[in-house]
């Protein structure tokens, strides 16, 4: 079975986002960039499926600026076999990303797509569901457990009330949540090997798809800061403040 994983290059999760003074967006110049953390979990899952003989080939796909090749190389160092970089300098909306992924899935006869549940920059949480819809495939979102057998996927999903288990016929799209696995760190030899793995490059604009944005960003601003708080020196003082000053208990 062939697995496709989507890997997005995003601002590193442990770096704070600053809004540009002109309010046009978040300042990413010179910022540390990383693979979207959920996508690391997706890659890890794919690699485990290959290690257990369930999958034959893992294709890591990234859509974004040329530098997204670094993100693909990280996936290759973790154990993906080859990469596809679909270049686009314009930020694509999840709908457009889903359209691009659909084309790759069809070109490559992929049986399982593993994506992150959410990109931590746009916080959209849409791409996997959109892709499944466009392909007419079932979806297993927010997965904390994935088992494949007999052409089916059993997916445990993290939902607001607890956990839900669904069974999907393959091919399917699964989006992964934090508790699915703990992604490995690539070893130095594997990072070296990854440099030689093939990465196919194409331009998003050449795919003949309608990728035009449907949303105009009118402005980006910082949220209002919270007023500075005070230190209390004892439990008694805390209780007093909550009761008599804040009046919340």
């Amino acid at each position: 079975m062939k697995i496709l994983v989507g890997v997005k290059r995003v601002l590193d999760p442990y770096v704070r986002a600053y809004v540009k003074p002109d309010g046009s967006g978040v300042d990413l110049s010179n910022a540390k960039m990383s693979m979207n953390p959920f996508d690391e979990i997706a890659v890890e899952q794919a690699v485990r499926l290959k290690e257990t003989g369930v999958a034959e080939e893992i294709i890591a796909v990234s859509i974004g600026p040329a530098k997204s090749e670094e993100t693909i190389r990280t996936a290759l160092a973790m154990g993906a076999d080859r990469g596809i970089l679909v270049e686009s300098d314009a930020e694509l909306e999840p709908l457009a990303v889903a359209k691009v992924l659909k084309q790759v899935v069809e070109d490559e006869s992929v049986q399982l797509v593993l994506l992150g549940k959410q990109a931590i920059d746009d916080d959209c949480n849409q791409t996997g569901q959109g892709l499944a819809a466009l392909l007419g495939w079932p979806q297993g979102t927010f997965a904390s457990g994935v088992e494949l057998a007999d052409g089916k996927a059993k997916v445990v999903r993290e939902i607001d009330g607890g956990l839900e288990t669904v069974e999907l016929d393959l091919p399917a799209v699964v989006t992964v949540d934090l508790r699915l696995n703990e992604p490995r760190h690539a070893s130095l030899p594997n990072i070296m090997k990854a440099k030689k793995k093939p990465v196919d490059k194409k331009a998003a604009a050449d795919l003949g798809l309608d990728l035009a944005p449907r949303m105009k960003v009118l402005g980006v601003s910082e949220p209002p800061a919270r007023a500075e708080g005070v230190r209390v020196s004892s439990v008694e003082e805390l209780v007093d403040k909550l009761k008599n000053e804040a009046k919340v208990i």
């Binding site: 959410q118 569901q129 495939w137 904390s144 016929d169 105009k216 209390v232 805390l238 208990i249």
Partner: protein
């Protein structure tokens, strides 16, 4: 211009989040209608009919909708969407699962997790874990929207008298089957709507120690939340997680116990009215957002706090 709100429920009760979606929908303009898709869910439709501001309730009562499988729900919503300017649901795991499937089938770009409605086509949404707010204008004919429920007051559950109309079930999408649900059992109020939330982090140290947090919450009639680290370590189930990739809460009082205050955690609680934190590390970032900060060992402070509050 009519707005369709998708009701969230368990076939017997309407979930409170839906009332917040209704408030957001009202701000988008036009009459508001509600769709109840479920199985044996007539009581939910009756509850929706009483919600203030609702013009009509559509009831799709069919075994195919017993469990909210997106493969089945999306075709139903797509079939109905043509009659509406907006299709709206709460940004819960239910809404997040179904709505992007609907938007892709309609070839429109979903506007996720909105925190404000400026105009019929213009919304605010948090990005980068809430460290930035984007004002976006949609050019799509049908706007598919999910709502950050803490940003919109609940609509009145009483006062309306809408008619309930049945709608035909749509064809079902093949390929997915519901197997089981394991819902967390708790006597505590629901996390996203509680007036007081007590959350514990890695500092609490173990599942057994978490009983301390539960006891404190019980004296305050509070919901219990947790950081990702506490969930990952198995102290509490996944549905307790507050944060960028967990639940967003905005109670009157949020008590953070043994939580450092990482960006991703703050994303889920920094709109709380009052924040109090207990942490041994006076440099912990949680103190930057806390209205009241107590530098203390939680194993000393929490039992004392519980005792003091019982008085």
């Amino acid at each position: 211009m009519t707005v369709l709100v998708v009701a969230e429920h368990d076939n017997s009760e309407l979930f409170e989040v839906t009332l917040h979606s209704v408030s957001a929908a009202v701000k988008m303009g036009g009459p508001v209608e509600i769709l109840v898709a479920g199985s044996g869910c007539g009581a939910v439709a009756e509850a929706c009919a009483k919600v203030a501001g609702i013009e009509r309730v559509l009831l799709a009562d069919d075994p195919a909708y017993e469990h909210p499988l997106p493969e089945n729900l999306a075709p139903l919503l797509v079939g109905l969407a043509g009659g509406y300017s907006h299709v709206v649901a709460a940004a819960t795991t239910y809404g997040k699962n179904v709505m992007p499937r609907v938007s892709a089938l309609l070839d429109v770009s979903q506007i996720s997790d909105i925190s404000e409605v400026f105009a019929e086509d213009t919304f605010e949404r948090p990005i980068y874990a809430g460290n930035a707010l984007a004002k976006v204008q949609s050019s799509d004919a049908i706007k598919v929207v999910t709502v950050r429920t803490t940003k919109f007051d609940a609509a009145d559950a009483e006062g309306g008298s809408a008619a309930v109309e049945s709608v035909e079930a749509a064809e079902t999408g093949a390929g997915s089957r519901f197997l089981e649900q394991n819902l967390s059992q708790s006597d505590r109020p629901e996390l996203t709507s509680a007036r007081v939330v007590v959350s514990g982090g890695r500092g609490v140290g173990s599942a057994e120690n978490f009983q301390m947090i539960e006891d404190l919450a019980a004296t305050l009639n509070a919901a219990v939340g947790a950081s990702r680290a506490a969930v990952d370590a198995g102290y509490v189930p996944n549905d307790y997680q507050v944060g960028q990739t967990g639940k967003v809460v905005a109670p009157d009082l949020y008590l953070a116990i043994g939580i450092s205050g990482a960006i991703q955690h703050l994303a889920g609680m920094k709109d709380s009215k009052v924040i109090a934190a207990v942490n041994t590390d006076e440099e912990a970032p949680i103190f930057q957002v806390a209205d009241y900060g107590l530098v203390d060992d939680l194993f000393e402070a929490v039992p004392k706090l519980t005792e003091a509050l019982k008085k």
